[in-house]
Amino acid sequence: MKILVLISNVPDTTTKIRFTGDNTAFDTSGVQWIINPWDELALTRAVELKEAGAVEKVVVANVGEKITEPTLRKALAVGADEAIRVDTEPKDSYFVAKQLAQVAKDFDIILAGIEASDYNGSAVGGMLAEILDIASVSAVSGLNIENGELSVNRDIDGGSQVLSINTPVVLIVQKGIAKEPRIPAMRGIMMARKKPLNVVPAVDAEPRTKFVKFELPPPKAACKMVDEDNAKELIRLLHEEAKVI
């Protein structure tokens, strides 16, 4: 059994967001990059399954330029055996899925995060399954393998669902797939040096969408405090200023 974990390289969640080029591109200067949090959980679960002996090999794949390599090294430090980088700028979900399809063919399980914390597209996993013509399961919050049989947990409205499913399959995972992301230990970090990080060229693919413009949310308004015994004033503010009542 071999697992491929899709890794998206995203800005640290505390990054101050700025744009360049007349608000058409994200300004990457000074940004700290991290593994997309959902992908990190997926990788953690894949490594756990490998340690439990249910999986022989864990490979991580990313579509990105050279700046994403530290993120892949970290994935190797967490415990992946190999990394693949498709050498191109990720343009949109379809473009990325197309690039991943060329490296994702020989795996039994492909784990994709439910979304990436940068553009929140939530599309790559489903598209990849479609391109590969294999099944996909969305909103997966648990994965177990026993005697080569997959059992998958899904959160559904008001409850949960357990599925058994054949491979190959794309599992689109969300929180719960692993308890918390694994912290790479120093030895793992040193071992990551020696693990293969293969760079493959991009295939031809036309993005289906284009960034027209980004906008920042309006700055948060200051919070007004009203004394607890001054309900009248609160009602006045809600009525006259906030105009909600």
Binding site: P70, I183, A185, M186, R187, I189
Partner: protein, 388 residues
């Protein structure tokens, strides 16, 4: 959310690997130290679980070769780890410093292969806790006058004396103890818990490093097997070489405490309003913040440069003394200034500053006092020792 400063883009002086290391240790500290450390410090208790967890993480003896259970990392990596641990608490960094620089380092550098294989892998995983005994009740800054001695009894050495102010003593499984032989030469012995006549009473009522276990090592006619002597070092040079490694780690470590204080004070001063304005808008508070950041930046550069020198085995003990002294002094000042920025809130355990400040009173004293390091620099530049 902790947001440490990097005013001079010193990050660019680190490798990607160093940054992954930093991220790992920071995340571990976020999960395992930050939520509980105030409570442990208030209760004057050492969080014992951290030793094994630091072992798992690889924070114990990271620069020891992999063959002996270390990670074979460079000196900057060690520094980065110490910074992140001390952001959590100086007690955590102290436990790691002692294990790495004062126990694993001498066994690796001065021990024989049998000793290395016996102790290092277990010290690296945290299965074993180590202590380092140099200071005595009556001999602190002047360890050369120590009175702990051993006699050669043919089959074993007979050890008598006592060490005081020893980090990890109450919880240690082994201790590297420095004592004089019959000719007055300082030698290193590995003591093991359980040896008859060897006890480790705890020191209570500390107002500093309250989350660290400090105690005594008492030797009452302890029979130490001859194979427990570190064969490859004689004289005070042995413990001093260990201290070089630990002091270097402190020069990096305290930066974490300084950044935590600065970061806390900056955030608080922007949120807290007096006279209708954020406290940060007053010049006096800006002066404090600006000076703190200036000192942090200088500390970072000093530590980084010292690390590159150590990687090339070129850092002199006097250079290490300068960095230890400077960085601890400024961190302590930063703790005091940032505490004032928080006003009354600064004295509570809801913020880390007062805890750091009290810890630093130990850090400025141990591993060579502030004064002694100054005299080391003075000696180095004039050629005249002013100790005696």
């Amino acid at each position: 959310m902790y947001n440490p400063p990097d005013y001079y883009q010193i990050d660019e002086l680190l490798t990607d690997e160093h940054k992954i290391i930093r991220e790992s240790v920071r995340e571990w500290v976020n999960r395992r130290i930050i939520p509980v450390i105030d409570d442990y410090a208030q209760r004057h208790e050492f969080p014992e679980y951290i030793i094994k967890e630091m072992g798992e993480l690889g924070a114990l003896g990271p620069y020891i070769p992999e063959k002996y259970g270390g990670a074979g990392m460079d000196q900057i990596a060690y520094g980065v780890i110490m910074t992140e641990l001390e952001r959590g608490d100086s007690a955590i960094r102290s436990a790691a410093s002692v294990q790495s620089s004062l126990v694993m380092y001498p066994i690796y550098a001065f021990g024989d292969e049998k000793q290395r294989m016996k102790y290092l892998p277990k010290l690296a995983t945290g299965e074993m806790v180590g202590a380092f005994g140099l200071t005595e009740p009556n001999h602190g800054s002047d360890p050369g006058s120590m009175t702990t001695r051993f006699e050669d009894k043919g089959d074993y050495y007979l050890l008598n004396g006592a060490k005081m102010w020893i980090t990890n003593a109450p919880i240690c499984d082994i201790a590297v103890v420095w004592a004089k032989d019959e000719s007055g030469k300082v030698r290193g012995l590995i003591l093991e818990r359980g040896m008859e006549g060897f006890t480790t009473p705890e020191t209570y009522k500390k107002w500093s490093l309250r989350a660290s276990a400090t105690g005594e090592l008492v030797f009452d006619n302890v029979k130490v097997p001859k194979e427990n002597m570190l064969p490859n070092i004689k004289g005070l040079k042995g413990p001093l070489m260990c201290l070089n490694s630990a002091r270097y780690g402190i020069a990096w470590g305290v930066i974490g405490a300084a950044m935590d204080c600065y970061d806390t004070a900056l955030r608080y001063s922007l949120e807290r309003k007096q006279f209708g304005k954020p406290v940060a808008s007053f010049q006096l508070q800006q002066k404090k913040l600006a000076e703190m950041l200036t000192e942090i930046t200088k500390m970072q550069l000093m530590a980084w440069r010292l690390g590159t020198l150590r990687n090339e085995d070129r850092a002199t003990p006097a250079q290490i003394s300068m960095a230890k002294r400077n960085n601890v002094e400024h961190t302590l000042k930063i703790a005091r200034e940032s505490r004032q920025i928080l006003g009354a809130m600064g004295i509570t355990g809801d913020f880390p500053i007062m805890r750091h400040m009290m810890n630093l009173e130990s850090v400025i004293t141990y591993e060579g006092t502030h004064d002694i390091h100054l005299l080391i620099t003075g000696h180095d530049i004039t050629g005249i020792p002013a100790f005696e």
